[in-house]
């Protein structure tokens, strides 16, 4: 049985067959994805399933990862923050380092392809340093909210974007006028991965118990890297506002490291300080391969939070909805694509807002369950990998036949 056949139980035979029919028009196309890390973060997770499935669909797909010194990741993390609007400070040497590292990677990576899809700003200068005859088409895939970038950061990146034949964003609100065509493709989850597959009750309970969480008492959960944009301190504040009304409530903040995020340790320290000695507040730093643990946590949580201040998309929201949990999400970025008030959860603007909605969902368990069922169906229709693959294939077909006309595949 092919890997794609396994998804027929989830999305139906017709959807998988349509994907195969679409892919037949692109058979043999050489596609290379490039990003900055093989482990940690949503992009690596997506490429982990997308590359082999594209191969199975008949595309010649590969995944390359750039590498650089620790200073490079400090610079690109700052770029990442600046792209999301944080005030940042750069030296000219920082911009030069970005160019140097991308130049070195262009020389050592195997980038010969019909299409190279460069993910996020770290590898963005690769087209400048790759011989023109090696790549027919460059596409820049921006996963973050670039709607209000820091001006210096945008000027640094804009020179690279002009080398691309197309760009992809998760939402229209993230875009700015660019010289090349732009496309919208929201990310997705793999429903059969360790993180999202069904778990036995035994595994679920053993995992939760092993982590010191009482499965008999309700708990709130946020799963994210320890990053200020995820506002873990705000989640703790919301929990503290709810606790007097629900003394049995627990809070679990679960995160893990990403190779390309040097700020994680610092933010973790801040979170541990804020957590103090509260035995009902667990801060878990999980290794990168803790997918089944996260799965168990999400399935066990009473309510899932993603109280981000900035968010490209928020795959943790998708994961929670897939597991039938309503989500209380920060009203930002891709969370607004997924969380719809009273249908799949609530959008909030402050710790007080989160506390209010937590109390609402705890009060009305029937509404909580209904939202959970709605969220599951919503993800099945719109945010599973079959749709994501279909979007990529359709985008490539549109680039093959530029213009405004509709197409018949």
């Amino acid at each position: 049985m092919q890997q794609l056949d396994r998804y027929e139980d989830v999305v139906g035979h017709a959807e998988v067959q349509r994907l195969r029919n679409l892919a037949a028009r692109l058979e043999g196309r050489k596609i290379v994805h490039v990003n900055s890390t093989k482990t940690g973060g949503g992009v690596a997770e997506i490429l982990g399933w997308m590359t082999p499935l594209m191969k199975e669909l008949g595309l010649d797909a590969r995944w390359e990862v750039i590498s650089g010194p620790p200073d490079f990741y400090r610079v690109t993390k700052t770029l990442h923050n600046g792209l999301q609007g944080l005030p940042v400070v750069f030296r000219s040497r920082d911009f030069e380092l970005h160019h140097e590292v991308d130049k070195q990677n262009a020389e050592k990576l195997n980038l010969g392809a019909d299409v190279v899809i460069v993910h996020d700003p770290q590898p963005i200068f690769l087209p400048l340093y790759t011989p023109k005859d090696q790549v027919k088409r460059w596409i820049w895939r921006c996963h973050v909210d670039a709607s209000r970038p820091n001006r210096a950061v945008w000027k640094h990146l804009a020179g690279a974007i002009s080398q691309y034949q197309a760009t992809i964003f998760s939402m229209a609100a993230f875009t700015r006028p660019l010289p090349c065509p732009m496309f919208l493709i929201p990310p997705s989850i793999d429903p059969l991965s360790d993180k999202n597959c069904p778990l036995s009750e035994q595994e679920r309970l053993e995992t939760v118990n092993r982590l010191g969480i009482d499965p008999e008492r309700p708990f709130l959960l946020q799963v994210s890297r320890f990053d200020r944009f995820k506002d873990p301190i705000g989640v703790i504040e919301a929990y503290r506002m709810v606790k007097p009304y629900y003394p049995e409530m627990q809070l679990v903040l679960a995160g893990g490291p990403a190779d390309d995020d040097p700020e994680g340790a610092e933010v973790l320290r801040e979170v541990m300080d804020a957590a103090g000695e509260d035995k009902d507040l667990k801060v878990l730093m999980l290794p990168p391969d803790s997918h089944r643990i996260i799965n168990a946590l999400q399935r066990s949580a009473t309510i899932v939070l993603q109280k981000s201040l900035k968010e490209g998309f928020g795959l943790t929201v998708t994961e929670a909805l897939w597991k039938g949990k309503p989500v209380i999400g920060g009203a930002c970025g891709g969370i607004t694509l997924q969380v719809h008030d009273y249908h799949t959860g609530f959008l909030v603007h402050s710790p007080a807002g989160a506390a209010y909605r937590i109390r609402y969902l705890l009060r009305y368990s029937d509404k909580r369950e209904r939202m959970g069922r709605t969220g599951f169906e919503f993800v099945r229709e719109h945010f599973l990998l079959i749709r994501h693959l279909r979007d990529y294939l359709c985008t490539l077909l549109c680039l093959d036949q530029p213009g405004e006309m509709d197409l018949v595949a």
Binding site: L22, A173, T175, P177, R390, L407
Partner: protein, 226 residues
């Protein structure tokens, strides 16, 4: 027995293409509608049925929806909500009507309304990719049986997009039934459905109901849509 070809069921996907422009007030809306590419007008006036995931939209197009919810101008929203894009033979003609309505409203106001930050209308165009599912329905009875399980995207293609392909005249289902020689009152009933006014789930329900009322084949199982 009819000798016409069986009904070919198509499905579709939208490739959404933002243009990096947005508007936050009525004057910017007017200027944008004057100048955005045709596919942006097409998308915001005819394709938002595909985006209404929870059957929430009060109005059948993005412009009316934005004016009502984000801009807070209910007068303009109501006028834009009544614009039927399928009554226009070209995007140019549709654009002209939209510009006229918005401009008329701008002239009425001393101060144009502005939306709160973060609620701007971001302009998106789209290209529709249609694909043959391979499914063939040889008879009206087969079509009736299939209706409840057709994807909403298929409904969009065969009802909404068909109107664009036929210059607003018809949809694929009633057109095929007419060629087949089916009951003319069924054909008329389907053509009378106010396609633009309904969301896709309502559209499917109305079609199933229309078939049920005209069904002359008692052996056909009458399944309600999900």
């Amino acid at each position: 027995m009819s000798s016409i070809e069986p009904f070919a069921v198509f499905d579709c996907s939208l490739v959404r293409m933002p243009i990096g422009r947005s508007c936050s007030n009525m004057r910017e809306l007017l200027e944008s509608i004057r100048t955005v590419p045709d596919m942006v007008i097409e998308h915001h006036m005819t394709r938002c049925a595909l985006e209404d995931h929870f059957d929430l939209y009060e109005f059948p197009n993005d412009l009316a929806h934005w004016c009502w919810d984000m801009l807070g101008d209910h007068v303009l929203a109501e006028k834009l909500g009544l614009v039927d894009p399928y009554a226009h033979q070209s995007i140019e003609s549709l654009r002209a009507e939209l510009v006229n309505l918005i401009e008329e409203r701008v002239w009425e106001l001393d101060r144009v309304p502005t939306c709160p930050p973060g609620l701007e209308l971001h302009f998106v165009g789209s290209r529709l990719i249609a694909y043959d599912t391979g499914e063939r329905l040889p008879t009206p009875a087969a079509l009736f049986e299939t209706l409840p399980r057709l994807s909403l995207r298929s409904f969009f293609y065969h009802m909404h997009n068909a109107r664009r392909r036929s210059g607003g005249r018809t949809d694929d289902f009633s057109n095929w039934l007419e060629c087949y020689g089916a009951d003319p009152s069924l054909v008329a009933r389907l053509r009378a459905i106010d396609v633009y006014f309904l969301n896709l789930n309502q559209l499917r329900d109305q079609m199933v109901e229309a078939f049920r009322e005209h069904s002359t084949a008692p052996e056909v199982a009458l399944k309600a849509s999900a």
